[in-house]
């Protein structure tokens, strides 16, 4: 599904990703862990196509398609979804309007029919109930006045509505209490399917008790320096990242 080869990326004149390789097959969940400043968020932005994150070498393909050539909205329509570490507040744009426009834009770009209002409302009601999101919250402007946990749940709601192929979650667990963590994890687990892949970026092992990964990678200094199964996360929790910060230097 996702294939990253020898990826180099520069931010503000500084090389942050330095020869990153990663293969995530369809149906799998891969966790990426690593110390602060390792380049985890940078990787997520490069995948989503944020301006200022310049790829200088390497390739990224989604089901064989080169996504680096695409605009951010084209990538989204092609199936890339990034759950932001810090979701934006958008004053004046109601959450429902935003979700509807996002979904219909993607459908249109893919040459499919837009969703009717009743079908859309049914979909929203169902998905928001699963994530324990109040209807009232959907009428408010996107993320404005939302708590940290509400913002993260809203990210997962968007993911559930847009049904992407590749879900990249950047520190979705940060700022969540244990109940919210469970709700968000259940939401993510419900989306696991044989034709969908997940990249779960996290600093802590805790989330991986709820969303059990197929593989765990350690990202340090812009490279994947170690790959293992879910037990690697437990080992990292135990020993910390000190070892990688030194060896990768």
């Amino acid at each position: 599904m996702l294939s990253i080869k020898n990826l180099h990326a520069v931010v503000d004149g500084q090389e942050i990703l330095r020869g990153l390789n990663l293969e995530v097959p369809a149906g799998e969940v891969h966790a990426i862990m690593g110390p602060n400043g390792a380049g985890k968020s940078t990787l997520s932005y490069v995948l989503a196509g944020k301006a200022g994150y310049e790829v200088t070498k390497g390739s990224v393909t989604l089901n064989g398609e080169n996504i680096l050539e695409m605009q951010p909205d084209e990538r989204a329509s092609a199936g890339v979804f990034l759950a932001f570490q810090y979701p934006m507040e958008i004053p004046g744009v109601p959450t429902l309007t935003f979700l509807r426009q996002a979904l219909n834009s993607q459908l249109r770009t893919r040459g499919e029919d837009e969703m009717s209002t009743p079908d859309f409302m049914r979909l929203i009601r169902e998905k928001s109930a699963e994530l324990k999101i109040e209807q009232d919250m959907l009428k408010r402007a996107v993320n404005v006045g939302f708590s940290g946990g509400e913002k993260k749940r809203n990210e997962v709601l968007q993911m559930a509505v847009l049904q992407p192929k590749l879900c990249v979650l950047d520190e979705t667990d940060s700022g969540l209490d244990i109940d919210a963590l469970r709700i968000v994890s259940d939401g993510v687990n419900a989306l696991r399917s044989p034709d969908r892949a997940f990249v779960i970026i996290t600093h802590y092992q805790r989330l991986l008790d709820y969303i059990v990964p197929d593989k765990v990678h350690v990202l340090s200094k812009g490279r994947i320096v170690r790959t293992g199964d879910k037990d690697l996360a437990l080992e990292l929790e135990d020993k910390g990242y000190a070892e990688f910060e030194e060896t990768a230097a």
Binding site: P72, D73, R75, I90, V93, T97, A102, S105, Q106
Partner: protein
């Protein structure tokens, strides 16, 4: 060194017109003409006109339009407004058109008359726009809402200017809201061609009156539009004003608001959408001379291409005006490097017991917000439109009548569509 500024073509043409009219003028009209002869055309050396130098911006002073200039144009009410089930009062080139208006179907409590221009204008305060209209308009339209009348049907004051030959149209309107009366009035300003339209509006609210006044300035992009509204508010009266400015090559929309008795409210919001080389000036002067009145100004501008937006706001709080709440906020979104916004919010406070706030922001579309929308699949132009709409929404929110609000939101969205498809 004594520099004599050379008079512009527009000033010379105006002078000539003034001289001709002065021969037979009397009363208020003569006073206005004398004032024009004495003061000439406003220019940037005059504080209130620093940003809108008419001497430079106006190329000519066209001859006053006559009834015959109506021509054969079809003066269609925009479907968005017609759909509101409005009672229409239509003027073309400043002249009331019986055949296009619903004069036989005025809502209960509403009366309309046409009177001589000199009968109803305030002549003591000289102001260029007021003087021009007083000097050149042939009559005044007087709209009265009877005391206690609660008028549900929106009243549309539609103004068209036919500029197929270059003319200057002048319209004077007097709106009197009786005690405790309430109404919604929509004023549309449209036209075709290279013309000048000047509009003087004298509005008075008696005690406890409540007026929603929505204005759509959609003049031809070749036109010059000058408007002055003088508003007086009685005790515990409420003014809820909204203006959508999107037309004219050069426009000046000035409001002078005066509280005459305590506990009144004036809420003024403006959405200004300009592109090309449009120049749009909004000037609002609020005079708090009595206690416990609130004024709140929300100006949302969106400027594209080489458009220039201006907001001058002055809130005066006089010594007796304790308990005043006066707010001004101007926020502009620039959609191009060459667009420009000049904001000058001012407070003149002579009383300690007041709450006043003013602020002005000018910015571009937030790149991070744009990325967030695009990362969800919304294409660039649509994402920009969504953010621009959200910006303008802050002004539209204040329209109380939901249908009218939706209609104006639709008109603002139409401006954005023209942008998205260009």
């Amino acid at each position: 060194m004594n520099v004599n500024i050379k008079k512009s073509a527009a000033e010379l043409a105006l002078e000539a017109q003034v001289e001709v009219l002065l021969e037979n003028a009397s009363g208020g009209q003569a006073q206005a003409l004398e004032s024009l002869r004495h003061n000439g055309m406003p220019h940037r050396k005059l504080e209130p006109w620093v940003y809108t130098d008419l001497r430079n911006l106006v190329r000519d002073t066209y001859r006053p339009a006559t009834e015959a200039d109506r021509g054969a144009g079809d003066f269609k009410i925009d479907p968005a407004l017609a759909a509101l089930g409005v009672c229409k009062i239509v003027r073309v080139n400043g002249f009331l058109q019986d055949d296009l208006s619903d004069l036989d179907a005025l809502p209960d409590g509403v009366s309309l008359k046409v009177q001589d221009i000199t009968a109803g204008v305030e002549v003591d305060e000289h102001h260029f726009i007021a003087d021009m209209v007083t000097a050149f308009a042939s009559n005044s339209l007087v709209l009265e809402v009877a005391p206690g009348a609660n008028v549900e049907q929106p009243i549309l004051l539609a103004n068209f200017t036919n500029g197929s030959v270059p003319v200057a149209a002048y319209a004077h309107t007097i709106v009197k809201m009786g005690e405790g009366a309430s109404a919604t009035i929509i004023e549309s300003l449209e036209g075709e061609g290279d013309y000048q339209s000047s509009n003087l509006l004298d509005v008075s609210l008696s005690d406890k009156a409540n007026l929603n006044f929505v204005r759509w300035q959609n003049e031809d992009v070749a036109a010059v539009h000058l408007a002055l509204m003088r508003l007086t508010l009685g005790e515990a009266s409420k003014w809820q004003g909204f203006t959508l400015t999107e037309g004219a090559r050069v426009s000046r929309n000035e409001m002078a608001i005066r509280f005459t008795a305590p506990a009144a409210d004036a809420h003024i919001s403006v959405a200004k959408l300009l592109r090309g080389e449009q120049h749009g000036d909004t000037t609002i002067i609020v005079d708090h001379a009595v206690p416990e009145c609130d004024s709140n100004e929300i100006i949302k501008s969106v400027l594209e291409d080489k458009a220039r937006g201006i907001f001058q706001g002055k809130v005066i709080v006089r010594p007796g005006a304790h308990g005043t709440d006066g707010r001004q906020a101007s926020d502009a979104l620039l959609l191009s490097d060459q667009a420009e916004m000049d904001s000058k919010p001012e407070l003149e406070i002579y009383n300690d017991d007041v709450q006043c706030a003013h602020g002005a922001t000018v910015g571009e579309i937030d790149e991070d917000l744009l990325f967030y929308l695009r990362a969800r699949g919304i294409p660039l132009k649509e994402a920009e439109s969504l953010l621009v709409q959200a910006h303008v929404g802050g002004a539209l929110e204040s329209i109380q009548n939901e249908d009218v609000k939706n209609a104006m939101t639709g008109l603002a969205a139409r401006w954005l569509t023209r942008r998205a498809s260009s």
